[in-house]
Amino acid sequence: MADVQDTGVAPILSAHRISKSFGEIPVLFSIDFDIRPGEVHAIIGENGAGKSTLIKILSGIEQPTSGSIHYDGRSVVLPPDGKAEAMGIVLIHQELNLAEHLTVADSIFLGRELRQGPFLKVGEMRRRAAEIMETLHVHVDPDARISSLSVADKQMVEIAKAISRDARVLIMDEPTAVLSVGETQTLFEQIRRLTARGVSVVFISHKLDEIMELADRVTVLRDGQLIATVSTEALTPDSIAQMMVGRELSNLYPPKHEPDVDEPVLLSVRNLATKSVSDISFDLRKGEILGFAGLIGSGRTAVAEAIVGLTHRTAGEIQLNGQVVNFTRVAQSVEAGLAYMTKDRKGKGLLLNMGLRPNLTLLTLQKHMRAGFLDTASEERALERATRRFDIRARDASVAVGRLSGGNQQKLMLGKTMESEPDIIIMDEPTRGIDVGTKQQIYHIIAALAAEGKAVIVISSELQEVIGLSHRVVVMRSGRIAGVLEGAEITEEEIMRYAAGIKQSGHDERISA
C-alpha cells in the first residue's frame, strides 16, 4: 500500500495538518488530505474515527483547531453554516438535513430560489425539481412534503439538491446507508456523470464493495489518525478492512446453526394486512434467524410495525407461543417478549438531546425502579453493561446522544432494544452506518442470540448481510411476500429475482421450514 505520489495534478481542495478537538477531547490529529479535480475520493474508517468531522472541516461547518485549508491553490478560511456552497463546496450530511414541512421542490431550491423580481417562480422551480428527480429515477411528486417521504427518498432529495447546486466539490457522508442496491446504482451513475464534468466527489461509506467500485483513491482514518491514502487499484476489500481496524478480519459472518425442525414456532403470522401490505404469512421458530429482503418500500417495516402494534392491522392473526395476540401498543409487545428495533434511529429510535443513560433505559424504566422512584445507580450499571457488550464508544458519557458518531448511536439503540431481554427480536437495518469490525461483532451477537434459543428477524437492504446471517429468507415485493428461500437457494440472484418480480412463488406451502 504505497502512498500515492504526487501525480502532478494540482488538488482543488486540500487540508494540511488539520487537527480538531471538541473542548478537551481531540478527534483529529494532524490530517493531510487532498482532492483532485474529477476524482472520487473515499474516506473510510471505524465508527468514531473522525470521518464526518474531517469533511465538516472541509466544508466549513466546523473550524479546525489547527492546520490550514487550501482551495484552488490559495489558503482559505471556509465560511461556516454551509456558506461554502457559494464557493462550490457542497456537503450532504450524514444526518438528513431537510425541513420536514417544505415540499420537495422548495427543499431543492432552498436558499437560492428562482425569482422574477420579488416573486418566486414557483412553476419553474417545480418543473426543474421534477427534471432533476427524473434524472435520478426517483418517483416523488415535487409538491410532496418532505415529512411524507421515506428515508431513502429523503436522501435522494438531498442528493438532488446537492447536484443542482453547481458544485465543484461534492462531499457526501454515507449517502448510501439508507439506499437500496438500485438506488445506489443510480446515485453512482450520477456521480460518474459529475466527475466526467470535472466535479470532485468525496464519499464516506462503510460498504467496501462500493468503495472498490466507485473510488479512485481511498483515505483510511483510524482513531483520528491518518493511516494512508492509496489508489483503489492497489487494494482489495480485505486489505482495506485490515487497514481500517488494524488487524485481519476473518469470518465476517458466524457459522450458521439451523434450528431443529421440531423446535417450537414462537411467532406465527397469518394473512396479515395493513394499509400498505397484504396477505403476509410466515412462521418463526425458536433459534431461527429469518431474513427479510426486498426493495426499499416493499413493506418489510410495515409488517414489523403491524406485528408489534405500532400500526393498525386491518386483517390477519398473530400468534405468540401458540397464543393469539393483539398488540395495540408497543408496551404490550415488549411485555410479551417481542421487541422491535426501528431503522430510523434519529426520528424514532433515540432522544438526541439526552444522554446515553436515559436513552438506554427508556424502554425498560420499570426495571430500574425502587420504591416507586428511579434508581439511577441501577441505570448506570445497565449502561456500563451495554457499553461493554456493544462496544459503545463515547469519549464522554454525559454527551448528548446526537453528538455520538452515527455508528455508536446505532450500537446504543441495539443496546436499548436488548435491555428488554426479548425472546423475539425484530431488527430493522441493524447495521446501518456501522463499520465492518463492529458489523462482525453484531452478526456474532445475533447468531449468539439465536443459539441461545431466541428468534430473530433481520430486515436488511444489504443482501450480503441477509444471505450471510439468515436460515431462511422472506423476500417481499410491493407489500406482499414474493417468495421464501432456504438453504442453498439463498443467493443474491435468487433474492433479486423475487424482489424485482421476475419470479413469484405460491409461498403458502413453505411458510415454515
Binding site: R222, D223, G224, V330, V334, L362, S398
Partner: protein
C-alpha cells in the same frame, strides 16, 4: 472490538455541569438579592422577604405545573382564567353551603374540595381535547382561556363575587398566618416544589415527560403511552392551579373578571427563565422556582428604590426573560 482503543468507553461522569445554563438562574437571583440589599436596608427584612415570597407562591405553584406541561411539549394558556373560575366557584359554593355547615371550617373544606375537583376537571378537559382530539395545545388552551374568563364574568354578573365575611374571617389565616414564622403559602409552595423536583427527576413519569417533549415518535416507539402522560400533565396543571387558588381566596376573599389576568404569561416566563426549554424535552422544577422569585424580586426592588419608575416593572421582566433565553440557547457548532 478494536485493538487500539483510545476512545475511552462510556464511563460515569459527574452528574452536574457547572456551566452558565445551570447556574444562570441562581446567579441572576443572587445578583438581584445583592442589588436589593445595596439599594434599600429594608430589603432583607423578614417582612419584606416573606411578603415577596408569599405573593410569588401563587404563580410559583402554577408555574410548577406548567413546567411539566411544557417539558412534555405542551402549553397551557388557560391557567390564569382557570384560576379566576375556580376562585369564583369556590366562593359561590362556600356561600351556598353556609346554611348547611354553618360558619366554620366545614364550609371552607367543602369549598376547597370543590376547587380542587374543578381544577382537575378543567385539566381533564384541556388534556382530552389535546390528546384525543389531536388539536394543538396552543389552540385548545387559547379557547378555554376565553371560555373560563367569560364564565367568571358571567358568574360574577360583571362584578365581583365576595366570600361571606364571617367565613372570610375564619379562612384568612390560611394566607396571613404561618408555621414557625413561615407563612402557609410559602410552605405549600416549598412542598409542591420539592415534590415536583422529585417527580421530575426521580420518577418514570418525569422521564417520560422529557422523552415526549424531546421526540414524540421516539417515545411512542419506546412503549410510552404518550397520550396518557400528556393528559396527566394537564390534570396536574389543573390541580395545581386549584391549590394556588386555595391560598389566594383567603387573601382578598373575592373574585372578579380581573382575577388571575396574565398569570399564564408570568408562569410561562418563570418556567423559561428557569431553564426549561419552551419546545419541550428538558425541564427543571428548581429553575422554575428561581424564575418565579426573580420575577417577584424585580417588582419588589423597583418599589423599594426611587431612581426608576416602578411602572417599568414589565419592561424589566421582559428584558430578563429575553436575557435568560439568550444565555441558554444552545452553543452553535464551531
Amino acid at each position: 472490538m478494536s485493538v487500539s482503543a483510545p476512545e475511552i468507553p462510556a464511563k460515569t461522569t459527574s452528574r452536574f455541569k457547572w456551566d452558565l445554563k445551570t447556574i444562570g438562574p441562581l446567579a441572576a437571583l443572587a445578583l438581584l438579592v445583592l442589588l436589593g440589599i445595596t439599594l434599600n436596608e429594608n430589603f432583607l427584612t423578614y417582612n419584606n422577604i416573606t411578603n415577596v415570597l408569599a405573593r410569588s407562591s401563587f404563580i410559583g405553584i402554577i408555574a410548577i405545573g406548567a413546567t411539566f406541561v411544557i417539558t412534555a411539549g405542551g402549553l397551557d394558556l388557560s391557567v390564569g382564567s382557570m384560576a379566576a373560575v375556580i376562585a369564583g366557584v369556590m366562593i359561590m359554593v362556600m356561600n351556598w353551603l353556609i346554611p348547611v355547615f354553618g360558619i366554620g371550617w366545614g364550609v371552607i373544606l367543602a369549598g376547597m374540595a370543590a376547587g380542587v375537583l374543578l381544577g382537575g376537571v378543567a385539566g381533564v378537559g384541556n388534556g382530552i381535547m389535546i390528546t384525543r382530539g389531536r388539536i394543538e395545545a396552543f389552540i385548545v388552551t387559547l379557547g378555554t382561556m376565553g371560555i373560563f374568563r367569560s364564565l367568571v364574568t358571567f358568574l360574577a354578573d360583571g362584578g365581583t363575587l365576595s366570600l361571606n365575611f364571617q367565613v372570610a374571617d375564619v379562612y384568612r389565616p390560611v394566607y396571613y398566618n404561618g408555621f414557625l414564622g413561615v407563612p402557609y403559602p410559602i410552605l405549600v409552595f416549598a412542598l409542591v416544589a420539592i415534590a415536583g423536583e422529585v417527580v421530575m427527576r426521580r420518577t418514570a413519569f418525569g422521564r417520560h415527560c422529557a422523552a415526549i417533549g424531546s421526540n414524540e415518535q421516539v417515545a411512542r416507539y419506546s412503549s410510552i403511552n404518550v397520550d396518557n402522560v400528556r393528559l396527566i400533565t394537564y390534570i396536574l396543571q389543573g390541580v395545581l392551579v386549584a391549590v394556588a387558588v386555595l391560598l389566594y381566596v383567603p387573601r382578598l376573599g373575592s373574585a372578579s373578571s380581573t382575577t388571575g389576568v396574565l398569570w399564564e404569561l408570568e408562569a410561562i416566563a418563570a418556567v423559561i427563565i428557569g431553564g426549561t426549554t419552551l419546545k419541550g424535552g428538558y425541564g427543571r422544577v428548581w429553575g422554575t422556582v428561581a424564575g418565579v422569585i426573580i420575577l417577584g424580586l424585580i417588582g419588589n426592588i423597583l418599589n423599594l428604590q426611587s431612581f426608576i419608575s416602578p411602572y417599568l416593572n414589565g419592561a424589566f421582566q421582559g428584558v430578563i426573560i429575553i436575557l435568560a433565553v439568550l444565555l441558554q440557547r444552545p452553543k452553535r457548532a464551531s
